[in-house]
């Protein structure tokens, strides 16, 4: 029975997101749509496990949610002594194209550039991920009241500033999609250090984007990137401590996710023959690591070449720093240190100091411990500090 209940809960959650996307369009309000879908979902969870899932669960939820929304609007109009605006009808058998379009509208509204990234992350997890406010708060390590306030403020801005519920035009799409992808990737990275529920949410959102926009290289590249990194999940943390890529037990990596990610990289590359896509290229780098039988056998030439491609579209000090780490493996620590030392403006970035500490240590330089101290001062995560301290040995 628990199994059946879980299956219903999952179905309700998946359908709930689609129903919400349609209800936002029909009611013109994220708040009202959320309330209405929430009400319908509660009813479904009460009745479906007992009476069985209806033949058309989506239609059932749509009709129940709209009925609730109409009630709320009528009640509010009565309170204000006004006439209630008529609400468009819903089609209980919506065609797949209209369901897809509504979901896309929801995606682009949640990740609208007039909203802060924090607000977009919260909205995406709440509306697209279908998590409750309490679950989103837990996942982001925030007090529930803080998160609730953030969501209210975001929804108020959408309503009062009239952020449109629309799929961007073809010319706007690349830049708007970049905003959506960075929101999802931020969620993934937030969860990367052991909060598996967040990485799972990010993978789910990335799947949704790739399903909705199967021709967009950014969507394909993002999904490939998160799958290829998520494939290492079981090996990435051992007894609560993060394990470096070089030391991970590769037999714990998930071959199915790697296979899927690599295939997506192939599709993404074929779709971007002239202008590289940053997500596809980052996924290609992740694929080089995932396909290597051991750290020592990594194809560093390929990794470095992909970093060169990435630099042609995303030349940032952080990308250069990561490239230098690959250079260290191929050409030795002296060559890499020269590259790292040449990077400007990274004095406040703990990973720059950590790279220097590692490279100086490999070169047998006593300056390594000073670099490590700077890494600590600038906020290197504890587990990595501990790892470097072990590497450097007693001072």
């Amino acid at each position: 029975m628990i199994g059946a209940g879980d299956a219903v809960a999952r179905l309700v959650r998946d359908e709930g997101t689609r129903v919400l996307a349609t209800l936002v369009r029909v009611t013109g309000s994220v708040d009202l749509a959320e309330d209405a879908v929430q009400d319908a979902v509660v009813r479904a969870l009460e009745t479906w496990p007992r009476d069985g899932v209806p033949g058309n669960p989506r239609g059932w939820l749509l009709v129940a949610a709209r009925r609730r929304a109409v009630d709320v609007v009528r009640r509010e109009a009565k309170r204000l002594g006004k006439e209630a605006d008529a609400m468009p009808a819903v089609d209980p058998f919506p065609d797949p194209v209209s369901v897809r379009d509504d979901l896309l509208r929801l995606v682009f509204t949640c990740c609208h550039p007039a909203l802060s990234l924090d607000a977009s992350v919260a909205l995406a997890l709440r509306t697209l991920g279908g998590l409750s406010t309490a679950e989103v708060a837990r996942a982001l390590l925030l007090p529930e009241a803080t998160l609730a306030k953030r969501l209210t403020r975001a929804k108020q801005k959408i309503a009062q500033a009239h952020i449109p519920y629309r799929v961007p035009s073809a010319e706007e799409l690349p830049s708007r999609l970049a905003g959506v992808a960075s929101t999802v990737y931020l969620i993934f990275n937030e969860g990367y250090t052991g909060r598996d529920s967040l990485t799972a949410e990010a993978v789910r959102l990335a799947r949704l984007l790739a399903e909705l926009m199967p021709d967009e290289p950014t969507a394909l590249g993002l999904l490939a990137l998160v799958l290829l990194q998520d494939a290492r999940r079981a090996a990435r943390v051992s007894s609560g401590v993060p394990v470096l890529l070089a030391l991970q037990d590769r037999s714990l990596w998930e071959p199915e996710l790697i296979k899927e990610g690599v295939a997506l990289v192939g599709v993404g590359l074929r779709r971007t023959p002239s202008i590289p896509n940053p997500y596809v290229v980052q996924a290609a780098i992740a694929a080089c690591h995932d396909l290597a039988p051991s750290y020592a056998e990594t194809n560093w030439n390929a990794v470095i070449s992909w970093y060169d491609v990435l630099l042609s579209v995303q030349d940032t000090p952080v990308v250069r720093l990561n490239r230098a780490a690959a250079v260290a493996e191929r050409d030795g620590p002296a060559a890499a240190l020269a590259l790292v030392d040449a990077l400007p403006d990274l004095d406040g970035y703990p990973w720059w100091h950590a790279s220097r500490a590692e490279l100086l240590h490999r070169l047998g330089s006593p300056s390594a411990s000073g670099a490590l101290e700077r890494a600590v001062e600038t906020g290197l995560p504890d587990a990595h500090v501990a790892h470097l301290r072990r590497r450097l040995g007693p001072q």
Binding site: A114, S116, Q156, K157, Q160, A161, I163, P164, R166
Partner: protein, 115 residues
Amino acid sequence: MPQYAAIIYASDVDPTRPEATELMQDYNEFGAAAQAVIRGGAALYPTATATTVRVTGGKGGDIVTTDGPYAETKEALTGFYLIECADLDEAVKVAAQIPGAWGGAIEVRPVVDFG
């Protein structure tokens, strides 16, 4: 006769909320009393609904929007337009055409419709 902009700096409230009823009555009284000299005006939603628009690299450059009001003191308030647009996307596009956006910033804030 010369005209003046009277720009209001006050507590950041939503004038459509019940808490603002008394304040709105005061404004209505002022509006009635100063009817002869008022040429226009608007109540704005709180700064939480603001979007700041900048154009990087001067005229025709990339439009960069950020959530929230203009929060620096480098530039000075030099004027304003009241624009009517279908939605925020359209308003941001218009704001980016205002020369002030090319080196400074335009804060786009929705106006309350009391109708």
